[in-house]
């Protein structure tokens, strides 16, 4: 391999590797079983409303921090993939609008639906979340504050956030990811109910 190309490859990888390190456990291909979600009603035993809201967001966090969601909310310019959250192959980047670089956009490979024979996931607007919505490496409390901040969440109020996570097709994909990928915990209906209950209890955030 000639030096200029090697340098370019290393530079490209640098876009994506900052602040990350994969463990041997993360690189395994073993698929974990799908997890369940607690129902929103099950939190009613927590008398204090703020404590209940924080606890609800803790359950919501099991979805937000799941690979199906986190892989496309990266801290770097590059998505991750698979249950092991490994760097996307081939190397792709956010680009100017989250849809990839000129010549290698997400839609070059990702169609409107999953293509199961090749295990290529798909959706009508397959894309990276905007950089302002990067969750990778953040605590659940930080993600919570970010989620509520109109300056970072796409100018959404709480009602719009609930609508987004219960109707956006790319969000819904997380529960229909195709073979070889563990779905997000529970169901989208359960997740939506948890989000609504969190909003109804004041949308409080964990301390960390």
């Amino acid at each position: 391999m000639q030096a200029p190309l090697l340098h370019a490859i290393l530079a490209g990888a640098g876009l994506c590797l900052a602040g990350t390190a994969l463990t041997s456990a993360q690189t395994t291909r073993q698929a974990a079983p799908a997890a369940s979600l607690r129902s929103a009603e099950s939190f009613s035993t927590i008398a204090n409303q703020r404590d209940r809201s924080v606890a609800l967001f803790g359950e919501i966090g099991t979805v937000l921090q799941h690979p199906r969601c986190m892989n496309c909310h990266p801290a770097t310019e590059c998505p991750r993939q698979a249950d092991a959250k490994r760097l996307h192959q081939p190397l792709v980047v956010r680009g100017k609008d989250g849809h990839g670089a000129p010549g290698l956009e997400c839609a070059t490979c990702h169609g409107k639906q999953n293509f199961d024979p090749a295990r290529i996931p798909g959706d009508g607007h397959w894309a990276l979340a905007p950089a302002s919505m990067a969750w990778e490496g953040k605590s659940l409390g930080q993600i919570c504050e970010q989620l509520k901040d109109p300056n970072r969440n796409g100018s959404r109020d709480l009602a719009a956030i609930v609508k987004h996570v219960t109707s956006d097709t790319l969000v819904l994909w997380a529960w229909n990811p195709g073979p070889g990928r563990v779905p997000a915990p529970g169901s989208n209906a359960q997740f939506g109910a948890l989000m609504q209950a969190w909003v109804d209890t004041g949308a409080a955030c964990p301390a960390s």
Partner: protein, 152 residues
């Protein structure tokens, strides 16, 4: 039967809905310039254009094409194509050549969107096109040559 618009003509193709577009192009239409490499969108050899944008035909079922216009290496045209073809010839880019139709499709797609790509722009656009002969340095140089030609 599936109706496909390929290279300016509408074809009725007798394949199942989930057949990859690549096989309809190669086996049913006899357009063998588009290559099979990996079958899982990892190598870029199967790249065609759908409505002018690059697409990996090995992971695109014919049912997803609909009324879109497919263009293969046999029928691409335009100033970017002319510039890439001339640069590829002048630089003698291919070695074994198997991946080159995919490389050319991606290079043309890049130049259609970015008339003066940097080394980094080229690397990001061409990352999905593998070449076992490692002609990457000549590919990058040829794209720069083509960009200069387009600049006039």
């Amino acid at each position: 039967m599936v109706s496909l618009k390929v290279n300016g003509r509408t074809h009725s193709v007798d394949v199942d809905d989930d057949t990859p577009l690549l096989w309809a192009i190669r086996d049913n239409l006899g357009l063998t310039g588009t290559k099979f490499g990996c079958g899982v969108a990892q190598c870029g050899a199967c790249t065609v254009f759908m409505d002018g944008k690059p697409l990996r035909s090995c992971v695109t079922p014919v049912s997803a094409v609909g009324d879109a216009e497919i263009t293969t290496i046999e029928a691409i045209s335009g100033k970017e194509v002319d510039a890439v073809q001339a640069a590829w010839t002048a630089r003698d880019v291919p070695q074994c050549g198997y991946c080159q139709s995919g490389q050319v499709m991606s290079a043309v797609a890049l130049l259609m969107e970015n008339k003066k790509p940097s080394d980094g722009d080229i690397d990001l656009a061409m990352n999905g096109n593998l070449c076992r002969c490692a002609t990457y340095v000549r590919i990058r140089a040829a794209i720069h040559d083509a960009a200069r030609t387009l600049e006039g």
